[in-house]
């Protein structure tokens, strides 16, 4: 692999914390705990995880809407957090974001034209004539007719609104697009439309995607590589084929076994005791140990680090006992 387009080095985000005036320590939540990963130019990195795993916090830090409290994010050799402070528009020209809820991310009182023009004016400084042309191109890129430009967001269905959201991200001509659950608010029949458009755009413009989702089948169908997050930690990362075919971390396997699929009769169901750890008071050792069928004393004491567990040098897992098969029939 060549030099990474985006690299995260031990990125942390802590919410709360600090002390009151009287010296009482305030509770802190470690939303993202020391994540290190790289995104190569032109690939799609899928990020999977359940609610509370820190995937949205990670996404917001990447686009400069939030700043890491520790570690560093480098984009194309530049420190992203420093750039976001000094020139947020420069970040927005390189990295764009597609929101989960398409309608909530469009201002209800603005026409589509006004929404799509904003990045052209503020980020690219285009003149009126060029903007007109570019707007039409953008609408065509996402399979919408340019006549829609003078409509308001409420006149669109969820799938159309999400395509407008994609067009807005595209307008800034970014290199990387962070897609935060872009299809989970959509009807199943519309999901495919949006996924197919994303696929086409990537090929046409040589984009790099960071695709965040809780839906494993969607992640599998779009990703080149996959990273699995649990409780703010990266627990497994590797090529999509490798992770989905020979999942090493017990949590990844649990996710795979829990996912419903047409024709699949029984799903892995854990006991009700198995819950996420308390984010204010994370347990020592592996965060997953309370739910893990193959836990040992070592898991309770020592935090596992990302290591290669298979022949594939790029497939790494943070587990003391990788690949102990415990699947449910």
């Amino acid at each position: 692999m060549g030099p990474a387009l985006l690299s995260m080095d031990n990125v942390e985000r802590v919410f709360g914390g600090g002390k009151t005036l009287l010296g009482r320590v305030l509770p802190a939540v470690h939303a993202v705990q020391g994540i290190t990963l790289e995104v190569q130019r032109g690939e799609t990195l899928g990020i999977v995880g359940e609610s509370g795993c820190g995937k949205s916090t990670l996404a917001r830090m990447l686009v400069g809407l939030d700043a890491p409290t520790g570690g560093s994010i480098t984009f194309d050799g530049e420190d992203l957090a420093a750039l976001a402070r000094s020139d947020p528009r420069a970040v927005a020209r390189k990295i764009q974001y597609v929101f989960q809820d398409p309608l909530a991310s469009l201002n209800p009182r603005k026409t589509i034209r006004a929404i799509l023009e904003a990045p052209l004016i503020h980020l690219l400084g285009m003149d009126r004539h060029r903007r007109g042309q570019r707007l039409e191109e953008l609408m065509r890129d996402v399979n919408l007719t340019p006549e829609f430009l003078d409509r308001y967001p409420h006149e669109f269905s969820g799938g159309q609104a999400q395509r407008i959201g994609i067009a807005r991200a595209l307008a800034a001509e970014p290199e990387l697009i962070v897609l935060d659950e872009p299809v989970s608010a959509l009807d199943v029949s519309v999901q495919a439309q949006v996924l197919n458009i994303l696929e086409g755009l990537k090929r046409e413009f040589g984009l790099t995607y960071l695709f965040i989702s809780h839906d494993l089948s969607v992640i599998e169908s779009v990703s080149d590589r996959v990273a699995v997050l649990y409780f703010g930690n990266l627990v497994e990362i590797g090529s999509a084929a490798s992770v989905f075919d020979s999942a090493q971390h017990p949590y990844t396997r649990l996710l795979l076994n829990s996912a419903p699929a047409p024709g699949r009769k029984s799903l892995a169901a854990e006991d009700a005791e198995t819950e996420l750890p308390d984010p204010f008071n994370p347990p020592p050792g592996c965060a997953f140990h309370a739910r893990c069928p193959s836990r040992s004393n070592r898991c309770r004491e020592q935090e596992p680090v990302l290591e290669c567990a298979t022949d594939d040098a790029h497939h790494r897992v943070a587990c003391h006992h990788p690949n102990i098969r415990t699947t449910v029939k």
């Binding site: 927005a92 959201g165 495919a192 075919d245 076994n257 419903p260 009769k265 169901a269 006991d271």
Partner: protein, 654 residues
């Protein structure tokens, strides 16, 4: 690029579903009356210089305190012999001008403070709002008096005082709205489009706050006119000889008993003015407030109205069916439009059976389920046909009291979001006990014991302790378990579960599905399971009914339908979802959009999106063709040969 360009299909929806704002306002008779009176007064005041009125300040001591209807002085004269009619019109002009200017000034500064405080949040917010609190800590009239005392009496100073006193009112209102708006995703999106804070505040947030500012103005302007009159009455506003309504009232006070008309006439004018503004303001608020606009002003009744024009023959009840719905039709009437959300649905559930109802949003699956126990809000909904037989009893002809007894007992519901169905202020134990005692005469301790057993039954660890928890203290999965426990509290025959796992994580979803599956087998409970996910259907449902455009288009066992969907829509619906283990599979999107149920096409509702559609499909009523005892399809040209049974790959075991 895959897919075709979405042509101008929202155009069909361009006709507004709701009547526009002006029409809504005119529908409100009180507001219309207010509008008329207010307009009349404003026109009169504006036209004052053109009217054939005498000089309002010309004194004529010879004709002082003339009664109304005197010659040349229709409304009489005051103690200095000035014409009251002329003074009234000119005085109204002054009062209106002061009231409106004060409102504009207060709205401008108050909204600005509110916007900045709400958008900036943090320290700026604290500083600004504590400043506003300090203004509010003074009784407003005292503060106004103090300001006038410092600046000296005079109309302009009274105007400033009233504006300052009313700034907090705007600031607090607007700040709350701006605070919520500033955390919305479109603000983040604008930031990523390169907009600066000032551009976001005035370009993105302000347009959304504007209706609130207008509402606040319309409800405060009357109040401001009253306050102006109050200050003038005290002699701190308009200075003699200038007339305004308050000073006229003040001067009339001295001769109140000898010539009451001198004070009554300006008093009536103040009354008419303020009353008309308040009525109009309330009307504007009702029209502009989105919560009121969406129809919340009309409170739905406890049970859906039933106006059946069609009742099928009840004798055709299947024997093992616990719930049998036949020919159900439910409509919504909004404005002049009729939305046929459910257009003749047949569903039957056996004891211990799980029937999945699958469809896109808007297909009518939830409305069908809600219609069973009359939970569709009326207005605008009504059941216009069909029967729902619960063990032979027609639920649509049952009395309201009977329905109340059956709800939550024989038929219970589990909804998508347990956080909004559980009451946030009561402990889950109290809510369970309430559900138990509503349907049986149990003592408190018996009911509590039963509640604990119920929690144990849904496998909540440490049930005794969890009874004391509030809903927000439980995780999403635990809350959904509590909802299921509540549905089971009175030995339900049928549980209607409306997307009960859609809001949950996959691992929790798997837990809830296996729990529901075990419980229905253990208690022999029928489940009507609404979902859009064929994966979830596979995991729990015995049979499936696929809905489209308010009708069932295909029904059969889960295996039959997954292996060989007969309706093109079912096949498309299965094919468009990515399947774990088949990353290379091309996803076939269903082009076009689901039909709008107020304008269903003739013939098959799916025909416009169907590749197999022929001319026959576009006319007449397509009947359900039975392919087996309980296998039917509503299609003239069903897909024939069975498809290859999809391999049920298990990723973890490969």
């Amino acid at each position: 690029m895959p897919g075709t360009i979405d042509a101008a299909d929202p155009i069909k929806n361009r006709k507004p579903a709701r009547p526009d704002s002006i029409r809504l306002l005119l529908n409100n008779q009180l507001a219309t009356a207010g509008l008329l009176v207010f307009c009349l007064i404003v026109v009169l005041a504006i036209a004052a210089p053109l009217l054939p009125l005498g000089d309002p300040d010309a004194t004529d001591l010879a004709n002082r305190l003339l009664a109304p209807s005197a010659e040349e002085h229709i409304l009489g004269t005051d103690s200095l012999g000035r014409d009251i009619l002329s003074r009234l019109v000119w005085g109204t002009r002054v009062s209106l001008a002061v009231g409106i200017s004060a409102t504009l000034i207060a709205a401008f500064f108050g909204s600005l403070i509110g916007l900045v405080a709400g958008y900036a949040a943090g320290r700026t917010d604290t500083l600004l709002m504590r400043g506003i609190d300090m203004i509010m800590a003074f009784p407003y009239i005292l503060l106004a008096l103090a300001i006038v005392a410092v600046l000296g009496p005079g109309l302009l100073n009274a105007l400033y005082a009233i504006a300052v006193v009313n700034i907090p009112f705007f600031a607090r209102n607007i700040r709350g709205i701006a605070l919520g708006l500033s955390r919305r995703e479109f603000v983040d999106a604008a930031r990523l489009s390169g907009k600066s804070n000032v551009q976001i505040l005035f370009g993105e947030v302000l347009p959304n706050v504007l209706p609130v500012i207008i509402i606040t103005m319309s409800t405060t302007i009357g109040w401001m006119i009253l306050e102006t009159a109050g200050l003038s009455f005290l002699g701190l506003g308009a200075q003699p000889p200038q007339a305004d309504l308050g000073s006229m009232l003040g001067q009339g006070r001295k001769v109140l008993f000898t010539s009451p008309h001198v004070s009554i006439i300006p008093g009536l004018m103040i009354f008419a003015l303020v009353m008309s503004i308040n009525l109009l303001g309330d009307g504007i608020r009702d029209v502009l407030d989105p919560r009121l606009k969406s129809g919340s002003l009309t409170r739905p009744v406890a049970r859906t109205a039933i106006e059946r024009s069609f009742v099928p023959d009840v004798a055709a009840l299947r024997e093992d069916a616990i719930l049998d719905i036949q020919g159900l039709r439910t409509e919504f009437r909004i404005g002049s439009e009729i939305y046929r959300a459910v257009g003749g649905v047949d569903l039957s559930i056996d004891k211990g059976e799980c029937l999945g109802v699958v469809g896109e949003s808007g297909s009518g699956k939830s409305v069908s389920a809600m219609s069973v126990m009359g939970l569709v809000p009326t207005p605008p909904g009504r059941i216009t046909g069909g029967v729902a037989l619960l063990g032979g009893e027609d639920l649509f002809s049952a009395s309201n009291e009977r329905i109340r007894q059956l709800r939550g007992a024989a038929v219970s519901y589990v909804f998508q979001d347990p956080l909004s169905t559980l009451h946030p202020l009561f402990r889950v134990g109290e809510q369970l006990v309430e559900a138990i005692q509503a349907h049986g005469s149990m003592t408190g301790s018996q009911a509590r014991e039963k509640a604990e057993n119920l929690l144990r039954m849904v496998r909540i660890p440490n049930p005794g302790e969890r009874l004391k928890a509030y809903p927000h203290e439980l995780s999403g999965g635990m809350r959904q378990r509590v909802s299921i426990a509540m549905a089971l509290a009175n030995d339900a025959d049928v549980i209607i579960a409306d997307e009960p796992t859609t809001a949950l994580d996959v691992t929790v979803q798997a837990q809830i599905l296996s729990l529901l599956d075990a419980l229905r087998k253990q208690n022999n409970t029928g489940i009507l399971f609404i979902t859009h996910d064929f994966g979830v259907v596979s995991a729990i449902c015995d049979r499936v009914a696929v809905m489209y455009g308010g009708k069932i288009v295909e029904t059969g066992t889960t295996e039959e339908i997954l292996a060989a969907p007969a309706h093109p829509y079912t096949a498309k619906l299965i094919d468009c979802v990515p399947v774990l283990g088949e990353p290379q599979r091309r996803l076939d999107a269903i082009e076009g959009r689901p039909p709008v149920v107020n304008n269903l096409p003739d013939g098959c509702a799916f025909a416009p999106r169907c590749f197999h559609a022929r001319d026959d499909c576009r006319s007449g009523e397509i009947e359900m063709t039975m392919l087996g005892a309980r296998r039917g399809v509503r299609c003239l040209f069903p897909l024939g040969e069975p498809k290859q049974v999809r391999e049920t790959t298990k990723k973890g075991t490969r």
